[in-house]
Amino acid sequence: LHLATLHIQKIPLEARCAICQVVFRPERFRFECPVCGSRETSITQGDAVTLESVDVESLPAGEFA
């Protein structure tokens, strides 16, 4: 495991305005629509950690068959 490398792809935080539907990137946790000024927003991406895939080498035969 000590030879393993971790590849992290950062997904920027994005939110959608509930009033005008514009998608924007909140700065410093200020969830305010840059277009209409509404604070009715919801996060669309960037607040989760997803394990996408594991790349393994030299598997013993049949281990993950």
Partner: protein, 227 residues
Amino acid sequence: MNRVITVNRDVSEAARIKAGEFRQMMARQGTLVANLISSPGAGKTTLLATIARRLTSTTRIGVLVGDIATDRDAQRLAPLVPTVQLTTGGACHLELSLVERGWEMLGAPKLDFLFVENVGNLVCPSSHDLGEHLRIVMLSATEGDDKPGKYPKAFRTSHALVINKLDLLQHVPFSVAAATADAQAIQPHLAVFPLSALTGDGIEPWLDFLVEEQRKVTADWVPTSYA
């Protein structure tokens, strides 16, 4: 040989499902679970003591208090309300498994309110769903009114903000309006309750809010998540 195993799963999925199940189970029996988050010394235990004194005659309350070490908080609260101390042994936050164990140690009772006092910390507790219906973040006047912006996630993910130690306002440079504006810029839905847990000043609207929120928690209850 080289192969790619596609996983494509949210790492917190299992924890989220478990928390949802606990939340639903407690809602079905009419128990509002409240997760109280603040920095050390903001007044969580004092607030719970005040709530217990005021509400135990009309409602069934249980309290779980989280700390890294000691049972000092439980000793303070136990004379007032059934309390179980949860000690994390070093961890800076509570997790659902500890809350479930604590509730069982209380005797798995049917309650109106299960208050969970998290470990004093404005950072890590905000990332852990304890199966609560209500997340309460607490800020006291002595901490300064600039804290919401510095610890945004605790405020972003909470439903209510208690601003405590109003009795000290005359001695410290703290603006309730500034703290409220800073917090609501992060979470516009935050219900804000400035009060003094020590003197009881401002406590009535807060107790009314708790009782009203408890009424909403029924079998068909739908969570509001600001995560």
